[in-house]
Assembly symmetry: C2
């Protein structure tokens, strides 16, 4: 990772935000960790000592934000696919986790995920897994911006063998990480209403409020979940959370596939963020969330990949494409979830949902989290407007990545850590699982 | 394009076909245009003068087969997205075609499509567009294997201004191209039952039968089509074709989204191939084909991307992923359309549907149409089995492509034609349309 106080990119095409048309032939200047200014090539500023990058035939846009991941699950990617959810979890993923989740596994497999994300243009990730202190350390070292959220469940978990300590463990995590780095925002992840009691959920939310950090929860992912829900008296998962007063603008609802009209109205009124993970919803046969309806209601829609084992790709460009297309196929309306709304979900809306409003947009004063794409590739020609970022681009088109004003990827070479070492470590960890 | 009589790849992981587990540490020998033999690294053959490729950390598999494309439509990719089908066609695509389709446009934009396909691991494409002789020429020069199919409609079209000549024009095309190159199989494309009269359809099929070439037709793509269909007496598009005796093993039905149970039984009985284009079906809001049910019935399912304007990517890896996932989401059954069935649709089944059974598999005597993927990338680690090819791989992971025993792509450098020249020509063609 090269620390550079100033970076000047010239002759570049800019996507400042999803609602503004692309502007060609621009310069942009980053000073320290933020975007300072940009303008037309007619008047390029003089910046002695700045790192100069040539943006010819390239597009610069805000780094993508992944609103939901279990980074360390890269270890289990492809271990078991095409299986019914119960069988997948109970016969494959849970036993694999019981046997393989260790602090070292979380550290190295989170780093592998970070490499994959940086190489596909993601600059910020919201994570949640076991041994989250190791995930936070890996993400900090990777050069990414991250919201590592410590998990809470009411049963023994790796790192928290005694569930009566689950709230205390999160508080220790929050106090350790808060203020440690501008790039790391520790947070709270109550796993779900079927693994946390009402009391646990309320304590977890109280803790998040105390530390002013996001409160995440998996909710309404599958039919299966509805059947498991503790309250059998017609309460939906969303109404359950609403009754516990867990829904506010600092709560992030992950999934939201199985909602009814009343649930959506409750979300609209209380303003929690909703992060959908369409590829995971498809692959696990959870269903297709009514994302376009929620977006039209003004509910804040963010995008996430979910963990590598249920997707199986952390490329948010691929995720954006499927989000747009799935809504059209579901509604039989080709205007549903247009490209600009999908771009918003992966950039500025996700930034707001995650409590980081200084991200997701190219504007003076915003964080210098930027990605540079090579447009001179056959599959991106010709380019008429920004929709090609959703429908034609893949993460492999990302050439250079800047996070917090620092070069993290240059010409697809990862600068922030030793990728070779990381892949070797993960390979070793994957051997007992039968890697090729 | 380097002509090499023999190619020897060593130390490679092989996917011979979708039903066979991956085998590590193999060598494979291609002689002339075909696969000669393969085996374990314990006993590598001596091949003086053969081109040697190191397959360490790489996977070799059959080249992907794209069962449906309108290659030249790359010119219109991204020109208009997120629009209702009628508006998209009538206000954007048809006027753009009327103003821009020329022989030169078809030649250069087909070549651009070929570059994109080769770079994403597709070695064979079935194409259909206007001025198909130029498409055939471009595909031949690109180094790809192709089935260029001459279109037939009952109204004036670019290249065939007088529709009374439409059958004669196809016959001229077939006689010109048949036997010209082992890589080119000319064919017949009757556009659809709503643009061709019953008489035209029957003459077109007769011609295909006479020349023993595939007969393609778009069918049951949208609700819109059903409303337009000429026979108002309860006839479905499929029953209309069956009544005209157009359905046999040499007919290729493109789309098949809007079928009923009777339609599927008719297809099952008559054995035409079905090529689905899930990304296009999604993006144009046509719907989700019942592909997994058809596959379970023994109907031959192939995969295509459709043209670049309705997808907007010609990467069959992305298409495979969406085919698998869309069936799970539609049926709420995660076991639907497993990875191996999707791989078959893009390789050996497509080969059979297109009448080229010597393709789509690694076996002695099969055509040397092969792609080599770099597995040492963070998003492909760890790899436990071949499902990663569907759920994690993208076309950008393809490193080397061999078609008909010749190197066409090496380390992502296109060897068969001048890509820079092609992109410049397409850029010029796209200027009147308002390219960036």
């Amino acid at each position: 990772m090269t620390a550079t106080p100033h970076i000047l990119i010239t002759n570049v095409t800019l996507l400042t935000d999803p609602d503004t048309p692309l502007i060609a032939s621009q310069w942009i200047l980053c000073k320290g960790t933020t975007i300072h200014s940009f303008g037309s090539m007619d008047t390029v500023p003089v910046c002695h000592g700045a790192l100069l990058l040539d943006g010819t035939d390239k597009l610069l846009m805000p780094g993508l934000i992944n609103g939901h991941n279990h980074c360390a699950m890269t270890l289990f990617r492809g271990l078991a696919d095409d299986l019914e959810l119960g069988e997948w979890l109970n016969e494959h993923i849970f036993p694999a986790e019981a046997a393989n989740v260790t602090p070292a596994m979380v550290y190295w497999c989170t780093k592998l995920a970070a490499a994959e994300m940086i190489l596909s243009g993601t600059t910020t990730v919201a994570d949640g897994y076991f041994h989250e202190e190791e995930a936070a350390r890996a993400l900090l070292e990777s050069g990414m911006r991250a919201i590592p959220a410590h998990g809470i469940v009411d049963f023994p978990a790796p790192g928290v063998p005694d569930p009566t300590n689950n709230i205390a463990a999160v508080e220790t995590f929050l106090t350790h990480w808060q203020g440690k780095s501008d790039r790391i925002t520790p947070a709270v992840f109550a796993h779900s209403p079927y693994t946390c009691s009402p009391g646990t959920l309320q304590q977890a939310k109280k803790l998040a409020t105390k530390y002013q950090v996001p409160f995440f929860i998996h909710i309404a992912e599958s039919k299966y979940e509805q059947q498991m829900l503790m309250d059998p008296q017609g309460t939906s998962p969303i109404r359950h959370l609403a009754a516990l007063k867990l829904l506010d603008a600092d709560t992030v609802l992950i999934h939201c596939v199985w909602l009814d009209d009343e649930d959506r109205k409750i979300i609209q009124k209380n303003n929690p963020g909703v992060v959908v993970c369409p590829q995971s919803h498809f692959k696990l046969a959870s269903g297709i969330a009514k994302t376009s309806e929620m977006d039209n209601m003004g509910i804040r829609i963010g995008l996430g990949t979910d963990g590598g084992a249920s997707n199986n790709s952390l490329d948010l460009f691929r995720e954006m494409d499927i989000l747009a297309k799935s809504q059209k196929a579901r509604t039989l309306d080709a205007t549903a979830m247009p490209a600009r709304r999908v771009l918003a979900a992966a950039t500025e809306t996700n930034a707001h949902i995650l409590g980081l409003p200084q991200l997701g947009k190219i504007a003076p004063g915003f964080k210098a989290d930027l990605i540079l794409l090579d447009m001179k590739r056959p599959h991106l020609q010709p380019a008429y407007n920004s929709a090609f970022l959703v429908y034609s681009t893949s993460g492999a088109d990302v050439e250079t990545v800047i996070i917090d004003g620092k070069l993290v990827l240059q010409e697809r070479k990862l600068l922030s850590f030793d990728l070779e070492e990381c892949m070797t470590k993960v390979r070793k960890l994957s051997r007992p699982l039968g890697v090729l």
